[in-house]
């Protein structure tokens, strides 16, 4: 353990004294405050905060990721390349201890830097309303929609398999099945069609969603309905006029005498943009039931669709901003641990430039894993079978940094739950990073350290 610690502190000294870390540290220390005061977003206080947190945290994350890759790779490859390892490995230290020491050093450096920069970002974020001279309304708005950690409830997925079956059989009877498509493709196509149908409101029609287990912290808090419209025909001014009802729908449905209030809203919202409706929390019934009704006013003259993934959800405050921010930082930290292990692995069998490129490719693939997977899926045809047995499993083996993106949570003031964090830690660190580390230890234990010199 002592020797691991010795290697770790030496790695930190190396990163600091060889000025590898210096560039990144100076860049961040200069950039973060500048960003804090120059970014205006949509010029509201909320917009400012969202832009700053989003860019500040993303930049910190990106730079620390790069720093982690560079230090972790450099530390080992330079030892091998400049042969300091000759005198180190012949001391009573096992090879795996050397690797662990290097990774530990990089991770410790990350901890220090991450704490430093997140404290900067946090302070700027918290004190921004003071510097900005925000109005009362804006303060209330950011308190509800930014300085919060909101849980989200999405409408339950409706089972459409029967309808799809029917539609398929119907097509078959009429003999209108497309010939160039397999049954699986047709079913998939029909399923998405049917699902969209459930989320579309024709002109003059309405949509009703029912939610269970909505549990706001306090009855005097607010709920937020976050939604986005898609339309079949774009209205001239890209605006949709609508009427919403939020409350206990069972009162109307079953003629019960209701205790809770039903709130109506008349709205005008742009299409393809996220909007939020604030609803008093007493709209939720005591058993956590809540219904939302949307009425597509006839003057729109177009079908309104709520996109499948993120068309509509209910948000409510479930925690504070500070713990949420903390968890977001931990999420970045998990990323860094993974990259430190990745760097160590690459350094065990590749030379410095190659190892760096390798790590960067992995890093960017992981960052855009969703994009990569989707674009490969889109290829379809003959290529897909080749791809699905080669690249796809590889990409899925990588951690999905975009799926575990902390800034999205903070910008939307969404609750980043401990459960989510533990899940990320489990897949990213406990499984994937440890796996990388094991492979690294294995390779390093068996390779010849010295170069061939005769």
């Amino acid at each position: 353990m002592r020797s691991i610690w010795a290697v770790a502190t030496n790695t930190i000294k190396q990163a600091l004294r060889m000025k590898i870390a210096a560039i990144f540290i100076i860049l961040l220390i200069v950039l973060l405050p500048i960003m804090g005061f120059s970014m205006t977003g949509d010029s509201t206080l909320k917009g400012r905060l969202q832009t700053f947190v989003s860019y500040g945290l993303s930049l910190t994350s990106l730079l620390l990721c790069l720093l982690t890759i560079v230090t972790s790779v450099y530390s080992l490859t330079s030892d091998i390349d400049q042969r300091q390892i000759y005198t180190v490995i012949t001391k009573p230290i096992r090879r795996f201890q050397l690797i662990l020491g290097k990774v530990l050093g990089v991770v410790l450096l990350d901890v220090v830097l991450l704490v430093l920069f997140s404290v900067i970002i946090y302070s700027i974020t918290v004190y921004m309303p003071v510097f900005y001279n925000a109005t009362e309304d804006e303060l209330v708005q950011v308190e509800n929609e930014f300085y919060a950690a909101r849980a989200s409830v999405t409408p339950p997925v409706i089972d459409v398999s029967k309808e799809v079956e029917q539609a398929y059989n119907k097509l078959k009877e009429v003999g209108q099945l497309p010939e160039d498509m397999s049954r699986r493709d047709i079913t998939a196509h029909l399923t998405s069609l049917k699902k969209l149908e459930k989320r579309a409101a024709a002109v003059g029609h309405e949509l009703i969603w029912e939610f269970h287990n909505v549990r706001p912290l306090e009855p005097n808090e607010s709920l937020f309905i976050r939604f986005k419209y898609d339309v079949s025909v774009n209205p001239p001014d890209s605006q949709i006029y609508s009427r919403w009802f939020v409350g206990d729908y069972r009162q109307i449905k079953y003629g019960d005498v209701g205790q809770t209030h039903i709130y109506p809203f008349e709205r005008k919202d742009p299409v393809r943009t996220f909007r939020e409706i604030e609803v008093p929390a007493d709209a939720v019934a005591e058993d956590g039931y809540l219904a939302i009704g949307f009425f597509n006013l006839p003057l729109n003259n177009t079908v309104v669709i709520f996109p499948l993934e993120d068309g509509l959800e209910v948000l409510y405050r479930a925690g504070g901003f500070t713990p949420n921010f903390f968890r977001a930082v931990v999420l970045i930290f998990l990323r860094l641990i993974f990259l430190a292990c990745l760097g160590a692995l690459a350094a065990t069998f590749l030379s410095f430039p190659v190892a760096i490129s390798f790590c960067l490719v992995v890093f960017f693939t992981a960052t855009f894993s969703n994009f990569c997977l989707e674009s490969f899926n889109f290829l379809g045809g003959n290529l897909s079978s080749v791809y699905s047995y080669t690249l796809k499993p590889v990409i899925q083996l990588l951690p999905q940094f975009d799926k575990f993106n902390p800034t999205e949570f903070l910008v939307q003031a969404r609750l980043l739950s401990w459960f989510f964090l533990v899940r990320a830690a489990g897949s990213m660190v406990c499984i994937k990073a440890v796996l990388l580390l094991l492979v690294a230890l294995l390779i390093f234990s068996f390779r010849e350290i010295a170069k061939v010199i005769i």
Partner: protein, 415 residues
């Protein structure tokens, strides 16, 4: 365990990535280095010396054969803890200072902070880098880096010291110091495997040598046996008159042999050291390494007094790990500016053991200006050799590891 280092038909073949073009870097090497001897591995460039050492230490894997080092495997941390290794060049972390470098290596050995601090100061003093101890080693000259390299090899007080070209880049005084140090350490029961192509160095210090060429041993044996010209005799006399010389010549001719008469030359090394020492005594400033003649006192046998105690108390504690607080065993360096540098070195090498003395003099830089202490060197030597014998006996009784076949008197120090 008869040998400190033993290899059994050790072979290393280098081939390209297709497995072609085989080069036998080391070919069927059977090497035996006995405990407590200075073994020289000689050979021209590319003869496989370094490759052999790397295989011993597990930096390279042998294609065939195996090696046993201190009765174990060269990659075993327990064995590594007893080895000091100086690679062919000092590969150091450029951003660490000399002191930090030694501290780092000390920590790799898991030495407690107190011991580490004591040894680092002693070693820095010994290699003459105390004045630049806080400078980054990246700014060091090659010779200075070499000295740090040597210091790191000694920080664990190793039983086996493997030195690959220890004197490259060193000035003659540094070279002389290293040679003296090697002899001194050998005298204390260490085993030293020396790898060099500087024949003078090897000749001065080694008990046995092996000459490698093309990865094979070409000649092996005791230096004396290999080099002594048994068919010739040399007589050294004082400045005698021509008449006497004629008579001697006559005597030799009677024996039906021939004889030549010349005045012996001083070795250039001796002359050089004498000149520089004189300059030093006139206090000419230098920005380089300071040449001192001290030897880290944890390396010299004060510990023998202690380890005897240790062993009497029983507990076979590892010597390296046992912290030796500075008060239990001290030595006073009675440095004295003597006229002949070699003698001065000798006096350092044969410092007396004075356990009663509680004063620690590490860091005393004005050693050379102290007045001569004509304290009886004879007596010191006697004391020391008694101690040595005690140590040795106790060692053999205890571990049976040191099979010293070397004369244990201090006079070998003056090679």
């Amino acid at each position: 365990m008869e040998y400190a280092v033993e290899t059994f038909s050790l072979t290393k073949i280098f081939s390209d990535c297709w497995g072609r073009t085989k080069v036998y870097a080391v070919d069927d090497l059977n090497l035996q280095v006995r405990y407590n001897e200075v073994f020289g591995l000689l050979g021209p460039n590319g003869s496989g010396k370094t490759t052999t050492i790397k295989m011993l230490l597990g930096l390279l894997y042998p294609t065939k054969g195996r090696s046993v080092i201190l009765g174990g495997d060269g990659t075993d941390p327990k064995i590594n803890a007893r080895i000091g290794f100086l690679p062919e060049e000092s590969y150091l972390y450029r951003y660490l200072s000399a002191r930090e470098t030694l501290d780092f290596y000390g920590r790799l050995f898991g030495l407690p902070a107190k011991v580490r601090k004591m040894r680092i100061e002693a070693l820095l003093d010994m290699v003459g880098l105390k004045a630049v101890a806080n400078r980054a080693v990246g700014t060091f000259s090659k010779g200075m880096a070499r000295r740090i390299g040597l210091a790191q090899a000694l920080i664990n007080d190793p039983d086996l010291l493997i030195l690959d070209e220890p004197t490259t880049g060193l000035d003659p005084i540094g070279t002389r110091q290293i040679k003296d140090l090697i002899l001194k350490l050998a005298e204390r029961g260490k085993t030293i495997l020396l790898c060099s192509h500087l024949l003078a160095d090897v000749e001065d210090v080694c008990d046995r040598i092996a000459i490698l060429y093309g990865g094979r041993i070409q000649a092996q044996g005791r230096v004396k046996d290999l080099l002594q010209q048994t068919d010739k005799k040399q007589i050294t006399t004082g400045a005698i008159g021509d008449a006497t010389i004629e008579r001697i010549k006559q005597l030799v001719q009677d024996e039906k042999s021939e004889c030549t008469v010349t005045s012996p030359m001083d070795k250039l090394e001796t002359f050089f050291i004498k000149t520089v020492t004189e300059a030093q005594q006139q206090a000419k400033p230098t920005s380089g390494a300071v040449s001192t003649t001290r030897i880290g006192d944890f390396l010299v046998p004060e510990k023998s007094a202690e380890s005897i105690l240790d062993k009497l108390i029983s507990a076979p504690v590892s010597q390296k790990a046992s912290p030796r607080p500075p008060t239990t065993h001290q030595v006073v360096h009675t440095e004295s500016p003597e006229s002949k540098p070699d003698e001065q070195l000798l006096s350092k090498l044969t410092e007396p053991t004075e356990p009663a003395q509680a004063e620690h003099v590490i860091g005393d830089e004005q050693v050379k200006t102290e007045p001569i202490k004509p304290k009886p060197i004879q007596q010191q030597e006697i004391e020391e050799s008694i101690l040595d014998q005690l140590t040795d006996r106790s060692k053999t009784q205890n571990g049976d590891k040191e099979q010293g076949d070397k004369p244990q008197t201090g006079d070998t120090g003056d090679a």
